[in-house]
C-alpha cells in the first residue's frame, strides 16, 4: 500500500493542520501585539456554527464563511474591549469567551432547528482536490502573509513594538491600543475561519463541541513555535502529523501508542515552556498595559 498510504497521510495532515493553522496564526497576531488569547477555542466554535447558519439561510457557503468570520470577530471584539479598554484580566476574559463560544451555538441551534446535537447539513465550500478544501491552500498561504506583515511592513514593526514594550511604543507616539484592537479582532476572524473549515470545509454541518480543544492545540502551536509564524507552522504540522499518523496507523494496524501521539502537542508544549528543550520567549509586553496602573 506504500504510495497510497503516503498520499492519504499527506492529505490527512493538511486537513488536520488547516483549522489549527488558521487559529494559531490568529493567536499569534494577538499575542505578538501583547494581548493574551486563550479564547481561540471559543472563537472557533462561534465561527464554525455561524458559518453553517449563514450557509443555511443565505444558500452560499462563501457568505456562510463570511458570517462565521464576522461572528468570531464580534466575539474577539468583546475580548478586546475587556482586555484593552477595560483592562480586565485577560485570562478571565478568555475563559468567559470560551464559555460563550461553547454555549451560544448550542443555544441558537436549539432555537433555530430545535436540536441540540447537530445542525442540518448544508452546502460545503468547494474542494480543489479529493478531500482538500479550498481553505487548505489559503491557510498555508497565510503563513508567509502573516510573516511578511510582521517582519517586513511598518504596521508589523509597530505591532511588535506594542507587544514587546508598550511604553516605548507610546513614547514615540504609537497608539498601542489601536494596533492591539486590530490584532485581537484579526485573531477572531482567523480562528472563526478555522472553525468554519471544520463545519463547512471538511464536514457540512456543525456538531456541539466540534472543535474538541483545537483552539488550545493552536495556542500550544503558537507557544511551541516560539511566537513566530514559521515556527508555528512547523509546530502545527508536527501536531497535525502526529494526529493524522495516529489515525492512519490505527487503520493500518501499526502498533504504536495512539494515546502518546495524541498527547504529543501538550507534552511538547509543556517541555518547551519550561525551557527544558530550548529558549522559549513570549513577547515581553504580553499582558502589559502601555501605562502603569
Amino acid at each position: 500500500m506504500g504510495d497510497f498510504f503516503t498520499v492519504e497521510l499527506l492529505t490527512a495532515v493538511l486537513r488536520t493542520a488547516t483549522p489549527l493553522l488558521f487559529a494559531a496564526l490568529g493567536g499569534l497576531l494577538s499575542e505578538r501585539s501583547g494581548v493574551m488569547n486563550i479564547a481561540l477555542e471559543g472563537f472557533m466554535l462561534l465561527g464554525a456554527f455561524t458559518a453553517v447558519a449563514g450557509t443555511y439561510y443565505l444558500h452560499d457557503p462563501f457568505l456562510g464563511l463570511l458570517c462565521g468570520a464576522l461572528a468570531a470577530a464580534a466575539g474577539a471584539a468583546i475580548h478586546a474591549v475587556w482586555c484593552i479598554s477595560l483592562r480586565a484580566d485577560q485570562i478571565v476574559a478568555g475563559i468567559a469567551l470560551n464559555l460563550l463560544g461553547a454555549g451560544i451555538p448550542i443555544f441558537l441551534m436549539q432555537r433555530l432547528w430545535e436540536q441540540a446535537g447537530r445542525t442540518p447539513s448544508v452546502e460545503k465550500l468547494p474542494m480543489i482536490a479529493s478531500g482538500v478544501s479550498i481553505l487548505v491552500p489559503v491557510a498555508f498561504l497565510l503563513v508567509p502573509v502573516v510573516w511578511y506583515l510582521l517582519e517586513r511592513t511598518k504596521p508589523g514593526l509597530r505591532i511588535q513594538a506594542a507587544g514587546e514594550h508598550p511604553q516605548a511604543a507610546e513614547s514615540v507616539g504609537i497608539r498601542v491600543s489601536g494596533y492591539r484592537y486590530a490584532c485581537v479582532i484579526a485573531s477572531g476572524v482567523l480562528a472563526g475561519i478555522g472553525g468554519a473549515f471544520l463545519s463547512i470545509g471538511d464536514l457540512s454541518l456543525f456538531t456541539r463541541d466540534m472543535t474538541q480543544g483545537r483552539g488550545f492545540i493552536a495556542l500550544a502551536a503558537v507557544i511551541f513555535g516560539n511566537w513566530n509564524p514559521l515556527g508555528t507552522l512547523a509546530a502545527t504540522l508536527l501536531f497535525a502529523g502526529a494526529q493524522a499518523f495516529q489515525v492512519q496507523a490505527q487503520a493500518a494496524g501499526v502498533g504504536i501508542s495512539a494515546d502518546l501521539l495524541l498527547a504529543l502537542p501538550y507534552l511538547l508544549t509543556l517541555i518547551a515552556i519550561t525551557g527544558l528543550v530550548r529558549h522559549s520567549r513570549p513577547p515581553a509586553g504580553l499582558g502589559r498595559h502601555p501605562t502603569v496602573d
Binding site: R87, I91, I95, L99, I106
Partner: protein, 383 residues
C-alpha cells in the same frame, strides 16, 4: 488578577461584614448576567419570567430537585475552592478539570479494587488516594513555576489535555492489570464499601456535599487561622513583603497548587464514589465552571460555598427550564460566560476609576494641597 480578590478578614465580626460585601458585589455581577439572559430569552421569542420560574422550580420545586441541586453544587464548591486557594497565592489555576479527572480516576481505580476493607476504612482510603493523586497532579504546575517561571495558565491548559489523554488510555488499554472496562470506557463499578453513602432516600444526594462543606471549612481554617495560610496569602498579595518576612516563594506556590489539586481531586472523587459509582470517560466540564464559581465567590471559602450553590441551582434548574419553558439549557453556559465577564468588568471598574483619578491628579494637581517642599513623590507618578 489580584483586583478580583478581596480583603480577607481576621475576626469574626469582620468576616461577617466581609461576607455581606462579597454577596452584594457578586450579586451585582450575577444580576447583570441574569438580566442579559432575560434579554436573550426575550430576543429568542420566549417569556423570561416563565423561563426563570421554571428554572427555580426545577432547582427547588420538590425534594428530588433540591437533592439534585445539592448534587450539582458539590463538585462546583470543591472545584471553586481549588481555584480559590491557588488564586489566594497569586496563581491562576485553570487546570481544575484535569485535577478532577485524575482524582476521579484514582478514586475509581482504588474503589473498584477488591480490597475487602470495611466502609469505615475503604471510603476514607479511596478519598485519600484521590486527594493525593489530584494533589500531586496539581503540584506539577507549581513546581514548574517555581523552577522555571513557566506560566501556570499555559501549563495547566496542557496538563488538562494530558489528563484527558491519560484517562482515555487507562480506560481503554489497561484492562489486563487495572479494574477497567474498555467496552464501557469506564472503570469497573466501585465497591459498595467505597461508595459515598446516599443521604436522602430515593434521590441521588450523596455524602459528597458533606465533603464539600467540610473542605470549605477546612480551607477557611487553613487560610485564615494557620501560619501556612498566612504565608500563602502574603505571597499572593506581595512577593516583596513575603521576601521581607523570609517566606520561600517557590515552596508556598507549590504548596498552594498541591492543596488546589487535593480539592480538585476530591471533586472528582465525589463524582466517582458518589454520583456515578465508577469513573466514566467524558469530562464533565466542572473544572471550567469552577473558575466562575471561584471568581463569583470572591475566592473566599464561604463565598465559594454560596456561589457553588448558585451554580448548582442554575445547572439543576436548566433541565426543567428547557422542558417546560422551551428555553435551551445551554443558556446556563452563556450565563456563566456573561457572569464572568461582568465580574471582570466590576473588578476593573474600580481599578480604572483609581487609575483615572491618579492620572488626573498627576496631570493637574489641585492648588493648595501641597504641604512639603522639595521632595519628589516616592515613586514616579503615572505618565
Amino acid at each position: 488578577m489580584s483586583a478580583v480578590a478581596d480583603r480577607p478578614r481576621t475576626n469574626s465580626s469582620g468576616w461577617l461584614r466581609h461576607l455581606g460585601l462579597t454577596v452584594v458585589s457578586s450579586a451585582g455581577a450575577v444580576a447583570v448576567a441574569l438580566l442579559l439572559g432575560a434579554l436573550v430569552i426575550l430576543a429568542s421569542g420566549q417569556d423570561p419570567v416563565t423561563a426563570y420560574r421554571a428554572l427555580l422550580s426545577g432547582a427547588f420545586g420538590d425534594r428530588r430537585s433540591i437533592a439534585e441541586t445539592l448534587v450539582a453544587a458539590a463538585p462546583y464548591v470543591l472545584g471553586g475552592l481549588a481555584f480559590a486557594v491557588a488564586f489566594r497565592a497569586g496563581l491562576f489555576n485553570i487546570g481544575i478539570e484535569g485535577q478532577i479527572v485524575i482524582g476521579g480516576l484514582a478514586a475509581g481505580l482504588i474503589g473498584a479494587a477488591d480490597l475487602g476493607l470495611p466502609p469505615v476504612l475503604f471510603l476514607p482510603l479511596a478519598l485519600l488516594v484521590a486527594a493525593l493523586a489530584g494533589g500531586l497532579w496539581g503540584a506539577i504546575p507549581g513546581v514548574l513555576k517555581s523552577l522555571s517561571g513557566a506560566h501556570e495558565v499555559i501549563t495547566t491548559i496542557m496538563l488538562n489535555y494530558l489528563a484527558f489523554r491519560l484517562l482515555t488510555y487507562v480506560l481503554t488499554k489497561t484492562e489486563s492489570w487495572l479494574p477497567v472496562n474498555p467496552q464501557l470506557q469506564a472503570t469497573e463499578p466501585v465497591q459498595p464499601a467505597a461508595r459515598l453513602p446516599i443521604l436522602l432516600e430515593r434521590t441521588r444526594l450523596h455524602a459528597g456535599v458533606i465533603v464539600a462543606v467540610l473542605a470549605a471549612l477546612a480551607l477557611w481554617f487553613l487560610l485564615y487561622r494557620t501560619t501556612w495560610g498566612y504565608r500563602l496569602r502574603t505571597v499572593g498579595y506581595s512577593r516583596g513583603a513575603a521576601a521581607f518576612a523570609g517566606f520561600s516563594w517557590g515552596r508556598v506556590v507549590t504548596g498552594a497548587m498541591f492543596v488546589s489539586g487535593v480539592l480538585g481531586g476530591l471533586a472528582g472523587a465525589g463524582e466517582t464514589l458518589g454520583l456515578h459509582g465508577r469513573q466514566i470517560s467524558a469530562p464533565q466540564g466542572y473544572g471550567f465552571t469552577a473558575i466562575a464559581v471561584g471568581l463569583v465567590g470572591r475566592n473566599h471559602p464561604i463565598g465559594v460555598v454560596l456561589s457553588g450553590f448558585l451554580f448548582g441551582v442554575l445547572r439543576s434548574g436548566a433541565t426543567k427550564m428547557q422542558n417546560t419553558a422551551g428555553t435551551s439549557k445551554e443558556l446556563v453556559l452563556v450565563l456563566q460566560g456573561v457572569i464572568i465577564l461582568s465580574v471582570a468588568a466590576f473588578a476593573s471598574a474600580g481599578r480604572l476609576r483609581a487609575w483615572w483619578a491618579r492620572r488626573a491628579q498627576a496631570r493637574q494637581a489641585p492648588l493648595g494641597e501641597a504641604t512639603t517642599i522639595g521632595v519628589e513623590p516616592g515613586s514616579t507618578p503615572p505618565v
